[in-house]
Point group: C2
Chain length 350, copies 2
């Protein structure tokens, strides 16, 4: 099936587009009543994520409802550590939790890259099914958590205010944290390559927590592994490379490094202007972002104004993928999301 809407892929290749492509982090999620209905049928979050038919259903919902230019496979960033045996669950209102967090060198030594054809087959099955069901309407993005972000959850056992345990490990036994990041990075590379083989047309890495590190530790424990992923995926299988986007909350101080990583796109949060991000990335990559998601709580007029400001901040010329600076929240109004998506296309039309 030929791709009917290639705006995302053209923008990531920094080629001209008729309108700026737009998709939204967590666009398949609780703010949509149809998602909540499917989620209720699935019984649990992981029940939904591990069922390819239901994952396909919720992936398609926002693409059916809004004029979005991409779909992103419905999954979770923590599927890799779950497949490594850590035992992922989601307590209501509590966020993710691992039954068996990584707490010792022996725990790290036991970790191995999961088998993509068996242990993470449900993700690849979902990718294949979604590609078929999309019928070429928009491209499909596959994704993974970043090595450092996965290590945060694996070591802490859950989310954290201060990441005390993983930062302690970084300072007191950096070699151990590097061993952990090494095996996780190999797993991320295999996971992204498998999603690509299953049909993902763009790939994205979410580095949610790298930005909580001091600069010397970010470079050592997050940037190094993001770069390895970008470089290793670059040595793909001869054909055209599937574009890779590196998103990081708080990654603004490192845009020059990220632009030189080998990735095709850099996703930024809203604390840096796109004008500045564009200058600092110096035309080496496309830039994805970066409206503050809280903008969606404001009136439609204000949303349209801020969309226009975001487009103006990037300025003319190719290489912009419109997105939020972070994910949609459950209490956001789907009609406000529609206003945002339509405004991106309206204001960016040539």
């Amino acid at each position: 099936m030929p791709l009917q809407n290639d705006r995302l892929l053209r923008a990531l290749a920094r080629q001209p587009v008729d309108r700026t492509p737009v998709w939204l982090m967590r666009q398949a999620g609780r703010f949509l009543p149809e998602y909540r209905a499917t989620r209720a049928r699935a019984g649990s979050f992981m029940g939904l994520a591990t069922n390819p038919e239901l994952a396909c259903e919720v992936t398609l919902q926002p693409v059916q409802r809004f004029a979005l230019d991409a779909a992103i496979v419905f999954s979770d960033i923590l599927t890799i550590p779950d497949a490594m045996g850590l035992g992922l669950s989601f307590e209501t209102g509590e966020g993710p939790r691992f039954a068996r967090p990584v707490r010792s060198n022996a725990d790290i030594a036991k970790l191995a890259v999961p088998d993509m054809d068996t242990e993470l087959r449900y993700v690849m099955d979902a990718v294949r099914l979604i590609r078929r069901e999309l019928g070429g309407k928009v491209p499909l993005i596959g994704f993974s958590g970043s090595p450092f972000t996965l290590a945060c959850y694996m070591v802490e056992g859950s989310g954290s205010d201060n990441f005390a345990r993983v930062k302690m490990l970084a300072l007191d036994d950096p070699a151990a944290l590097h061993r952990l990041l090494d095996v996780v990075s190999e797993a991320v590379i295999a996971y992204l390559a498998a999603q690509r083989a299953a049909g993902a047309q763009a790939l994205m890495v979410f580095d949610t927590w790298g930005g909580t590190l001091a600069p010397h530790l970010y470079r050592e424990f997050s940037l190094r592994y993001l770069t390895r992923i970008a470089q290793t995926l670059a040595r793909g299988e001869g054909s055209e490379r599937t574009p890779l986007i590196l998103f990081g909350k708080g990654n603004a101080p490192y845009l020059e490094d990220l632009a030189a990583s080998g990735a095709e796109g850099i996703g930024v949060d809203w604390t840096v202007s796109l004008a500045e991000a564009r200058v600092r990335c110096a035309g080496k990559v496309a830039i994805q972002g970066n409206l503050d998601p809280s903008t969606l709580y404001a009136s439609p007029d204000a949303i349209r104004r801020e969309v226009r400001r975001t487009l103006d901040s990037y300025g003319p010329g190719p290489g912009h993928v419109f997105n939020l600076g972070h994910g949609l929240a459950p209490d956001m109004d789907p009609e406000h999301v529609r206003v945002l998506v339509d405004a991106v296309h309206e204001f960016s039309a040539q």
Copy 2:
């Protein structure tokens, strides 16, 4: 009583010091067993903060235990809105909460600058008592929350993950938010001036939440009012100006603006290196910071290494006040805090 330790004031004036001065945000707090004992006697957090004798006692505790170069009056950033009638309380494990948050233009119109001699007298009484009890051992810092940070709590009614209400107000009724920030700024200026008159030898403004704004909104709703405070306090009463430090979590993108605000010192979090902060502030101000507080969970050896790295990052020459990039946490080990404080003095000795 002559001041026996003027390292802080000399560093803020960018004059040479024999050792880099060090104090720690939230140094009077729950990580100290003697604090927890006084807090238990007070019954509640506000019972402690509003009792000058007990506030004096907990202010002095860290100065007695560690070789700190400054004391900071024990208080809360939310005393001003409380005195404006919003009804502050602290639920256990919940953080601050206002009984009567600001939810309408009528609510904003009712706000007035509190009377410092009556409604906030307990703070000035604490400042006077602490100055007397310190006996000139180290200087005393007075402080306030920043206008935008106070507005966040006043509008949301409590802490927030996303500051949806205040950001909605910024976009949908910016004039209303400016009216709110205007009266709060006047109150902050009066409050800092009153603490100075009561004996505070340095002043600090905590802009905890300004960094959550997009750049154009930060400049309009946070930076503008920080600058007004710095400029207005500059027009003091003829004598030597009491130095002002502007701290902001996530303020790294705005260091050039903050250095030009008129403040004597800029406090930064750990996501920017002091080397970069120093270059960007171009010698106009002293810089305070910026060790990641989570460093204190690591071993004494690692703490010493990171202290040395922080000092080296600032480099030689005057104008550095050592601090954390954010406050101490209740589960930190006082002996690790001692290692940090002593290492700052040891490594910075000429």
